[in-house]
Amino acid sequence: APGFDDKEIRIAAWGPQTGPAAPWGSVARAPAVLAAMINEQGGIHGRKLKHFVRDDQYNPAQTKVVVKELVEKEGIFSFVCGTGSAGGLAVKDYLAQNKVIWVGPATSVKEYVFPVQPYLFSVYPLYEDEGSILTKYVIEKLGIKEIGVVYQNDPYGKNGLDGVRQRLDHLKMKAVAEIPVEATEKDLSSHVLKLKSAGAKAVLMWVHPTTGVVLVKTAATIGYKPQWVASNTLSDFELMNKISGGLWEGIITGAFMLPPDSDDPRVVKYREAAKKYAPEERFGVFFMAGIMFTEPLVEALKRVGKNLSTEAVLKALNSMKNFQGVGPKLTWSPDQHQGSDSIQIWKCGPGGKTILLQDWTVNELAHWKKK
Amino acid sequence: MLKVNNIETWYDLIRALHGISFEVKEGTIVALLGSNGAGKTTTLKTIMRLLYDLREEQPEKGTIEFMGVRIDRKDTEEIVRMGISYVPEGREVFPELTVAENILMGAYTRKDRKGVKEDMERLMARFPILAERRNQEAGYLSGGEQQMLAIARALMSRPKLLMLDEPSLGLSPLLTKQIFDIIKELNEKDGVTILLVEQNVNMALKYAHFAYLMENGRIVRADRPEVLREDEDVKEFYLGIATEQSVKGFKRYRRKVRFR
């Protein structure tokens, strides 16, 4: 099936809805709100959007099963979001073989974009760039030289660490501590004590939200108060501030979209829609990210017009220049599918309010753009 | 005191008891005799309702009354509390509890701490070897010692009815005699009623007041020991006084032929 007909265009997302990784699942559900909004306004050139969500429990075996079923039974025009790197890597070739587009994977995986995959369009900024930009901010704006890093032992954490190193190497500096952590660990006293004994005045984290909370809580118990800096994954301030018991206040993070509590009309529009179509969902960073990842596809569909085809949409996506929704500016070309290169820097204010410290910033050290 | 009425028991699809009825009168010693696989153990287990987890409705048919109360649908624990104590086949001591703890468990249903203590000392005096091993795990006792422990444990609850499944199993001749003396003494002095399953038919018939003979899940004879002792069949099959030597000889011959 081509994934669309005269009445509807079928899009889908997979993501863990059950099991230990389920907190990530809201990303995959969010496009439904965008679809509902668009459908209410009559759809895209007369076609309604139909969004499917499938639970894969963060397990690539399940991802493969649900994606095949979606493609071959329901007929999917394009996937959006798609959480979990192993699952994504397991199905990306299959999707390409079946000419199914995939826009805005909900993780930043280098293998998705280097080398270019013709059907895959990434929105997510590279963790490496984020690491580099955040480190620059800490050193130059905050004037802290003793930097410790806690990173999750996986591509996410390691790419973040690489970014930090890139910046520090550039400045001929060295981190005072680089500590790996597993996502499942719940007791992090030794990590915190190591940071403290290494004299880290700022600690950068590429970790799971729960890990971040445990780190901050544990530090509080032994009276260790560095400047915490974290990846965008930990930038859901409303949530983080609540589950850390208020300790999140003052923490600086990277971010790649407008704050969900912003007054920007674009955000307000989505927030209202979410309240209407998905009253149960908390309009947090993950949920809004799901919408953001879908925006460029919708834009491309609009640009293509009535004569819909996969090739046409591919062309529209490949020629997208500086498109900006609620996320970063996106530029895709036939030989560059990493759409964004910039992040914002936020700070958690009292009660989990978002304070914008620095607007969209590009990593001037990034080498991927030079290639 | 105990009235068993036409009970039937099944192991999955095999009927082990085909309608058994017998009675144990208060203050007597009753022996239940029979060859291997006759269903003696099954009878006792049915009375104690230990086959419950095989099948809910066990015994399948028939009734069991103890002191006028029906117990065939009561839980084991309740039956024990009503005053039946049971020495199971194969000892079934608690291997990782000490000897003393094992004996104490026998008195689980009793509330009088002092009485329990006294009884325990009395039993220890009776079985000096248990006293010696007091703080040893019961699992490390020898077979006979475990048998003694199982009997001692059953006595701790001061039962009204004591059911023993092959109490002499694995005991030395001297101890067998002592155990039977204890049984007799219990019966006469303390007025405990006793239901005895035995392979040692000689001994059982010597001490019992009444005996039932079982075969293949049925009761085939019921009489006083004096009578049974004179019975030819009983003599041959249970007392081992073969009247026809030639039969045995033939049996043996046949086996030998087959074996070669």
Binding site: T18, Y58, Q62, V65, E72, K73, L89, A90, D154 | -
Partner: protein, 351 residues
Amino acid sequence: MDMKRDYYEDVQLFESNVVLFWTVVLLVFLFTLPLYVPSYRFSLFNLVLVHVILAVGLNILVGNTGQISLGHAGFFAIGAYGTTLLMTKLGLPFVLALPLAAFISSAFGFILGLPALRLEGPYLSIATLGFGLTVTHIIGHWDFFGGRTGLQVPPLDLGGGFILKTDVQKYYLILIITIFLVLSARNLLKTRVGRAFVAIRDSDIAAEVIGVNLLIYKTLSFAVSAFYAGIAGGLFGFVLGFFNPEPFNLILSIVFLVMIVVGGLGAIAGSIMGATLITILQYSLLKNIKEVPYVGPFMVDISSRWFTVIGLENLNSIVLGLIMIAIVIFEPLGIYGIWLRIKKYWRTWPF
């Protein structure tokens, strides 16, 4: 008395013509399956077959030898990584890489069998659990194994450029391997080694006294079981096409154990049925219930009233949990026990 029995009857592959007939029917059905079922189902069927192989092996260890293992995901991982790496790094062909990886896995099984000599019950389960965790941990920390990112699996080349691409093609390969391994296991259990395993399970002291060397047979049981897990793992890699250490976690080990207990401990048919049922339920029971007409809106309504709609997918694990409990409660021998009962019923039917 000179009527001589034919003792081959006791051990032959098909006990009777009836069994032979039904076996042939089943095989024909399995081999023609792609004719009746859409092809997207076959990635699930391939998983089922892979799990069947593993469950049969695990049942030899747990059901027949009485040694518990909570680390089989580790052997599974060794098989998957071994096969892939032998092919990509050493350039071995698939037909060599798969058995070689399985032998590596079985060597690890042998090593794990050593502490198992003295351990039992929960102590053994912690030791095996530690093994499983260690394997995935080391794989995840070593870039040689692709670290946490994972490994791309090479094309499934049977030799001479005969490459299996689609799921259906892979299905035939895996099916043939499965049938071969299942029958081998059945043969093994009917003969001397299998009996020695059972002896160890029922009474290791008696086993020793009749001359069964515990050191050899306990470790052998681990090794055989790990061999099966290794083959299963190697095939699993090709089913996925790309994998990282994440799926080989403790939960998977536990699911394997559940498969054989629910299927029927110590019964090969049980492992097959258990693996099939649990895998299929896990992957499809009550999934996407929201999209089912009538039932969906009803469940959404219930959810929004007393629960949360976003958590509705958890119905899968709730009902699966209940099914597991129910099977074990009502039939200690698992599905195999239920099967036996049905058979018995039909044999005596209509009486």
